[in-house]
Amino acid sequence: MTSDKKLKAKDITIGCELPALVKVGVSLQDLVEWCGVEGDYLNIHYDKSAAEKAGLPDCVVQGTYKLCLLGRMIMDWLGECGSLNSIAVKYIGMDFPNSTFTCKGMVSSEVKCKGSYQLGLDIWVENEKGDKTAIGTAAVSVKL
């Protein structure tokens, strides 16, 4: 499940942005589906009354869903040219159903080593207001 567009050397210089991944109108159904996928049925993710009882305004989008969408963004960008070595994400804000959020990333470091590139990435998730709700880093290897 990777993009057919081949990564080029000009795409991997420091400061280059990864193609953003926009998740439009994440639905309650998306969250229920994700509960099933990861086997975590904590009810604040699909039961609004349980979420309100916990002091939340609505059901909350799973942090792991945002992590894996960030992972998808990176894998789509790498295509067949590279692999994900590590990823670390902190969840610093909440996203809710019927909102749109965007996964973004940027090359932050680059080391060429034995014919491949070791890249550091800054990655984050932004809500519709432009506030970051998840921030992190990733390391990838790229062979061109």
């Binding site: 086997g39 799973q62 894996c68 998808r72």
Partner: protein, 149 residues
């Protein structure tokens, strides 16, 4: 309550928790991919990917996050007012494939008390080591949770 939870966690610090193992099943991987891509791949789609020159059906490395999840609401309410996931980390060392058997071993790697705008809380990190059937370490995952007291 903070002391009770801290004492409970202290007992487990740096000790191995109950290990487990699971097979990387094609259906589970398809559900993972379908959910992230809003698509509906079926089990015949890997044949297409082989024909198009790909070496195999690709398992996304973050699929490992689906292993050993058994959290239920009642468990979160055990000690505090609730718990939230505040961060995840993964280091990947080997690719995983459909049919691999993955063993996972967990340990409580750290915990600390903290103050938040919602009151006192404890943050703890569970580190999981994933090993394949060839005894190769495929990944290390870290899962950080905050429990509100």
């Amino acid at each position: 309550m903070a002391k009770r939870l801290a004492d409970s966690l202290k007992k487990y610090l740096e000790k191995n928790l109950a290990p487990g193992s699971a097979k990387v099943e094609k259906g589970a991987v398809l559900r993972f991919i379908n959910s992230l891509y809003d698509i509906n791949l079926t089990s015949s789609d890997d044949i297409t990917s082989v024909k198009s020159g790909r070496r195999n059906f690709t398992v996304p490395p973050l699929f490992l996050i689906t292993f050993d999840r058994e959290r239920r609401p009642s468990l979160d309410a055990k000690y505090g007012k609730g718990a939230i996931n505040v961060g995840n980390e993964f280091e990947f060392y080997k690719h995983i494939s459909i049919g691999d058997y993955i063993k996972y071993e967990k340990r409580l790697s750290e915990f600390k008390k903290t103050s938040t705008s919602l009151g006192e809380a404890i943050i703890y990190t569970i580190e999981t080591t994933f090993t394949n059937q060839r005894k190769q370490m495929v990944a290390i995952g870290r899962w950080t949770t905050m429990v509100f007291l």
